[in-house]
């Protein structure tokens, strides 16, 4: 049996590259959450507020706040990543084993990754809809297309 999940298979190489890029993109939202918490002085745990809060409020435990709109926007974006990126990573890996042509595979991987990058930008800059919905749909359809081809 020929081995497809191997660096010498260019389709797998493309998967490894784009998969890692989109994971780094997801990590960007983890860092952005921390930054927004620092910026707004809004934390999820009392021990975090005790150590990281540097503002004027004397009772630091009052900085444990769960409805700050800036922080929650980043967190919703992050959760949306979790709903889509792990699915892409597994579908993409299985997709490599059904031996698509390199160019077909590249289109799937690129459309998904570009969709997720633009989705983040549009979400965080709060562009009017339906921009985010349409951009989301491209990535979602790339995933659906791989799933249907596998089945």
């Amino acid at each position: 049996m020929e081995c497809l999940l191997n660096a010498s298979n260019p389709v797998f190489g493309a998967y490894a590259f784009y998969g890692s890029i989109v994971i780094l993109k997801m990590f960007a939202l983890a860092l952005m959450t921390s930054m927004k918490r620092g910026e707004t002085g809004v934390f999820a745990n009392t021990e975090d507020a005790q150590f990281f809060y540097t503002g004027q409020e004397k009772d630091k435990s009052k900085r444990v706040i769960f409805d700050n709109s800036k922080v929650e926007r980043v967190r919703r974006n992050h959760l949306n990543d979790l709903e889509n990126i792990p699915a892409f990573l597994v579908l993409g890996l299985i997709y490599v084993t059904i031996e698509p042509t390199l160019s077909t595979a590249l289109w799937h991987f690129r459309i998904f990754v570009i969709s997720r990058v633009l989705h983040m930008i549009v979400y965080q800059l709060q562009f009017p809809q339906p921009s985010r919905g349409i951009i989301f749909l491209f990535g979602f359809l790339a995933n659906m297309s791989m799933a249907v081809q596998i089945i």
Copy 2:
């Protein structure tokens, strides 16, 4: 070295099939969230309410609501998927490499996928407990069984 993660290995083929099915099932909850938001006119972002809300409320920004019980039920179900399905997808893949018999592997994959499908139905139709708990447990034990065998 023989290659096991390959379409010519029937155990891998079963993994690829059931893995894709359960990802599609997870995507169903993403679509269901959008539908419930449209149906109840409840959104998570002002720009979404501005564009998608078609009801009678004049100040559309008041349609940004985070505690609608119908929408939140779908979202909790989706989060429960995220806690279990990516773990299954990775455990299942590694499980293929320890060369279980096809029938043992099929039982693990089928029990997990059926458990997740029934879990969604029972969750959304709000069946009395302990139905959801028991159904959840089957899928959880399929995952545990694979993890223990791998270790």
Copy 3:
């Protein structure tokens, strides 16, 4: 082509072992959520409260509560796992295919897994910061290191 994702490759064996361990660790938080719900009598669905609540409150539907600090602490910890562990599982798998030395791979896998176990302990015992932040960073950097090497 040589096959690297195979039990006879010791780097893959290490991945399979540590990957399964860290999934079991993640599952521990799922069980801990259920236990905390039972202990505090706080549930997310009315049907759960109807069946599982054994306390004094007569109107069991009042036990549907979303802001219990003990339960929410476990859930935040669980969500943090979802943001990091699936990424590790995919990065680790791809990392095996770029043929790192066994010892380099073991360091990456062990640092990540130990970081996540300590992160959970420190989070649940509510240790003062920056302990949790520093422990988190080790696991995060193990992931980043693998991602950069793959790219």
